[in-house]
């Protein structure tokens, strides 16, 4: 039950993009096309889970025993960056089909603050390994959801006569504000 709760809170109540302002760059940049947003969303999900699976043991089995917890930021970012690189190299060489559909999003993910944030929070929320993985999945599904919703609305807005001074990025933020208002409906859903 707790796992479901962690998941739902991460997806709906504390949505990573809408309520926590994380991963905005790619959220704004990668939603001009529905397919693209889905691809990015799944790529992020994949890497987030991988990163969580890598950083959680590193923290608990290496950094804590050595008393090096203060190196957390440095180690985590290095691990994630290398991880992404390795995954990219691997996909490029061995599964070119998957690389063509997902690989192009990988470089963007290194600096996707949502992933780093998840790995930090797994530590600071004192989640167990399983909880951490669930949380990672929840956050990235929340990200995917926000991406897909904005992509749908953007698709629709292509034919709207948006006032000139709001065209482009401004209207995307305003749309996000309104999506956020709708998502406020989920607040208090999980107690």
């Amino acid at each position: 039950m707790d796992l479901i709760k962690i998941f739902l809170v991460a997806v709906l109540v504390n949505n990573v993009v809408l309520m926590r302002f994380l991963a905005l760059c790619s959220y704004i940049g990668m939603t001009s096309d529905v397919g693209q947003s889905v691809g990015m969303g799944f790529a992020v999900t994949f890497v987030t889970v991988l990163a969580t699976a890598a950083t959680w043991p590193i923290y608990h089995f290496i950094l804590v025993p050595l008393g090096l917890t203060f190196l957390q930021i440095l180690i985590f970012i290095l691990v994630i960056a290398s991880l992404v690189q390795l995954v990219e190299f691997y996909l490029k060489k061995n599964i070119p089909g998957l690389y063509a559909s997902m690989g192009i999003y990988l470089p963007l993910i290194t600096t996707n603050c949502a992933i780093l944030a998840v790995t930090f929070e797994n530590i600071s929320f004192k989640y167990s390994f399983i909880e951490s993985i669930v949380y990672a999945v929840g956050v990235s599904i929340g990200y995917l959801l926000a991406m897909v919703l904005l992509a749908g609305l953007r698709d629709r807005m292509k034919s709207s006569p948006v006032p000139k001074f709001l065209q482009g990025t401004p209207i995307l933020f305003i749309t996000t504000a309104l999506i956020g208002i709708a998502f406020m409906g989920f607040s208090g859903l999980i107690k």
């Binding site: 203060f70 190196l71 607040s187 208090g188 107690k191």
Partner: protein, 206 residues
């Protein structure tokens, strides 16, 4: 292959240098960071028990009866050397997630004071519990946690009857009251066991 090794070496040098300087900063700030929680807790405790001087950690001795409410910390508060009350840092579910309260109980089983340490409820509604400018009794300027001060645990704790609720936030009011009541009851129960053997010192009160 040589190039690769060189790459790793340069990286290692930079990493070592960076981390070394980090380690220095860490060593300097470590005591301060570790003391931080204690400092904050002591400050709150002193607000509730102004005459408090010494604190004795009794966290392991007081257990919560409600599985949803967890006691993070409990201290026996003493003036110079005589106990004057118990403070419990209790966390329980509220409207927007975990709420953490510090509840002080006097030896007379009355509430010495309540501080809201952490509350994630709706701003403007539930969050008013932690708003020093929000008064449940406007005339007397009594805040929501403020109204508990002086209340005996034997008194009724029914929200909307005995406890004034925050406007349109019955859930927050109820959950906070429940945390206070649970913490108070547990503390009082523990006090019974303690006072049994230290009664000579403590029952001399008012």
């Amino acid at each position: 292959m040589k190039g690769i090794a060189k790459l790793g070496l340069v990286l290692a040098i930079f990493a070592a240098a960076a981390c070394a300087s980090l380690a220095v900063v860490y060593a300097i700030t470590k005591p301060q960071i570790e003391a931080q929680d204690q400092i904050a807790l002591t400050a709150s405790l002193k607000e509730i028990f102004p005459e408090a001087v010494n604190f004795e950690d009794v966290t392991d001795k007081i257990a919560s009866k409600d599985p949803n409410i967890k006691f993070l910390n409990a201290v026996l508060v003493k003036s110079e050397n005589a106990p004057i009350g118990v403070a419990v840092k209790a966390a329980g579910p509220s409207y927007g997630g975990q709420a953490t309260l510090l509840v002080g109980i006097t030896l007379q089983r009355s509430i010495a004071g309540v501080r809201v340490l952490e509350l994630k409820d709706t701003p403007g509604l539930g969050a008013n519990a932690n708003n020093p400018g929000y008064f449940v009794k406007k005339a007397e300027k009594v805040t929501f946690p403020g109204q508990f001060t002086g209340k005996y645990l034997t008194d009724a704790f029914a929200v909307k009857e005995d406890v004034i609720a925050i406007t349109a936030s019955t859930i927050t009011s109820k959950s906070l009251t429940k945390i206070i009541k649970t913490a108070g009851d547990s503390a009082a129960e523990w006090l019974e066991t303690v006072t049994a053997d230290t009664s000579a010192e403590t029952t001399g009160g008012k």
